[in-house]
C-alpha cells in the first residue's frame, strides 16, 4: 500500500496515535521531497511508501557556539510504527577546510553516507538507517534516532574532580574508546574514512550502552595517508577523555599559572596550538605509557600513527596497565 494514497483524515488519525492531542495539527500536507526548504514542521513526506510526520530541524553546536540549524536534517515520526527517525536530505557541499593553518578540499557526500550505511548494517556501533532517492533523484537517508548522550556529555558528568574521574571512571571510558577505534578500523579495513571524528559524533545508545558513530557523509581529499585525518580525530577524542575535557593554555594561564609555567612548546597539540597534549604535566598520576600515546599528537612527535592497528596495540598495553593498577 502506498501511503501517498492515504487521505488527510487517515493521516491525521495515524498522527493521533503517536502525538499528544494538543500537538495534532488541524490539517496536514504531503510535501514533495525534492527540496528540503519546502518541507516544514507538521508536514508529511512519503518515502519508500511510508508516511513520515516531520518535526523540527536538527541542530549542531560546537566549541560553545550557538547551535546551528541543519535545514536538511529533520526529525520525523514514522507514522506506521511511531518510531522517531532522522531524515537527512542530500546537501552537497564542496568546501575548503581550514585547520591548524592548513587548507584542504572537503566534500559532504550523501553517496558516501549511503554506502557506509549499507556497509555497517546490523552493527551496534554505528547509527543504523537506509537510503532512498528523493523525488529529484538525490540520496536521502532515513536514520534511526539514537537516544543517549554524546561522548563529551558523558565525560563531563563523571567524577568529582579529575583524580576521582581518572581512577574510578577512566578505565571504563578507555575500554569504550578502544571499541570506538575498532569501529573506525572496520571502516578503514573496508576502504572507507569516517571523515569527521568528533566527540559529539559519538553517541552512547542508552538502550545498548554502546557508543554509536554518526555522521559519515564528510570526505576529505587525502594525500599520502588516507586515514591520517581520522587518526587525528581519534587522538583529539582520546586527549579529551583523558583530560576530562580539553585543557587549554588560556585556562591554565588564568586558573593554574604554576602548571602553565611548566609547559613548553613541545607539550601542545600539533594542530590546535592552544590545547595541552602533555597531560602528565597537568595530572602527574597519568601513566607514562598513556601519556606516550597522547604525545604522538603533540608538536614534539617524531613518529605518527599510520593506522588504527598501531594505535590499538599501544592502547591495549595501556588498558592492561590502567585496569591492573
Amino acid at each position: 500500500m502506498n501511503a501517498i494514497n492515504y487521505t488527510e483524515q487517515e493521516l491525521l488519525q495515524m498522527i493521533s496515535l503517536w502525538i499528544p492531542p494538543e500537538r495534532i495539527p488541524r490539517k496536514v500536507m504531503i510535501k514533495d521531497t525534492a527540496n528540503f526548504f519546502r518541507v516544514d514542521y507538521d508536514d508529511i513526506v512519503v518515502l519508500k511508501g511510508i508516511p513520515y510526520f516531520v518535526r523540527n530541524n536538527e541542530r549542531e553546536g560546537r566549541f560553545g557556539m550557538e547551535d546551528e540549524q541543519k535545514f536538511w536534517v529533520k526529525r520525523a515520526i514514522d507514522l506506521l510504527t511511531g518510531r522517531v527517525k532522522i531524515l537527512k536530505w542530500a546537501f552537497k557541499e564542496r568546501y575548503k577546510s581550514r585547520i591548524g593553518g592548513l587548507v584542504f578540499d572537503c566534500v559532504r557526500s550523501p553517496l558516501k553516507e549511503a554506502r557506509i550505511l549499507k556497509l555497517v548494517r546490523g552493527r551496534e556501533d554505528f547509527v543504523q538507517g537506509e537510503s532512498t532517492k528523493d523525488s529529484a533523484g538525490n540520496f536521502l537517508r532515513i536514520l534511526d534516532y539514537i537516544r543517549g548522550k554524546t561522548l563529551d556529555e558523558t565525560v563531563q558528568l563523571k567524577g568529582k574532580n579529575h583524580e576521582d574521574f581518572f581512577f574510578n571512571h577512566y578505565p571504563g571510558l578507555l575500554s569504550e574508546f578502544i571499541a570506538i577505534v575498532k569501529s573506525i578500523k572496520f571502516l578503514h579495513d573496508n576502504g572507507e574514512k569516517h571523515g569527521d571524528i568528533r566527540r559529539d559524533h559519538l553517541i552512547k545508545d542508552s538502550r545498548t550502552g554502546i557508543y554509536r558513530l554518526i555522521d559519515f557523509d564528510y570526505n576529505y581529499l587525502h594525500y599520502e595517508n588516507k586515514f591520517g585525518y581520522d587518526l587525528f580525530g581519534l587522538g583529539n577524542v582520546l586527549i579529551h577523555i583523558t583530560g576530562r575535557g580539553d585543557i587549554t593554555t588560556q585556562d591554565l594561564l588564568h586558573n593554574a599559572p604554576d602548571k602553565f609555567s611548566r609547559l613548553t612548546e613541545d607539550d601542545i597539540n600539533i594542530v590546535f596550538h592552544n590545547r595541552v597534549t602533555n597531560l602528565k604535566k597537568i595530572y602527574p598520576y597519568i601513566p607514562e605509557s598513556l601519556n606516550r600515546i597522547l604525545m604522538h599528537f603533540s608538536t614534539s612527535a617524531r613518529v605518527y600513527y599510520n593506522n588504527t592497528m598501531e594505535l590499538l596495540e599501544d592502547l591495549g598495553e595501556v588498558r592492561e596497565g590502567v585496569l591492573a593498577s
Binding site: R94, D105, S109, G191, Y223, E224, N306
Partner: protein, 160 residues
Amino acid sequence: MKKILETESKTRDKHILVAVDPSESSKRAVLYVADFVGGFPGFTVTLLSIINEPGEDFFETDDERKIWISNATEKSVTLLGKYRQILIQSGFPEEKVKTRVCVDAPGSLTELILSFQCDLNCCTVVVGRHHKSKTEEFLFGSISSRIIHDAKNCAIWVVE
C-alpha cells in the same frame, strides 16, 4: 656460465624509477637524475606520474569524474613529456627514458610507487622532498618520509 652472464647483463642495466608530480621538488628530482646519471651508459629511467583520483564522492556525476581524470591525465602526459626531454638532453638515449601514467585512488601513494618499483625491477627510486609542515605531515603523511621506511631491496634518493 650462461646464467652468470644473464645476471651480469641485468645488473648492468640499472633501472631508475622517478616518481613525479607538478611540484618544483619533483622537477628538482628529475634535474638531479639528469645531472647525476645523464650521459652514462647502462641506465634506464621510468618517469612515473600517479594521478590520485579523489573518488566518486567528489563528483556530481560519473561524466564529471571522467572529465577530471581525462584533464589530469593530459596534464601528466605533458609534464612527463617535458621531463623526458630534459633527461634525453642530458644524454639518456631516447629508448631508455620511459613514461608511465597511473590513475588510481590509492590508500597510500608510497605503496603504489613501491609496487611499480617491484614490477619494473628498479634498483633506485627517486622522489622530491616537499618540505611539508609538521602539521601537514601529521595529517596527510609524507611520501619521502614513508618511502625510506617502507622500501625494500632498492635505494631511495630523496632530492631536496
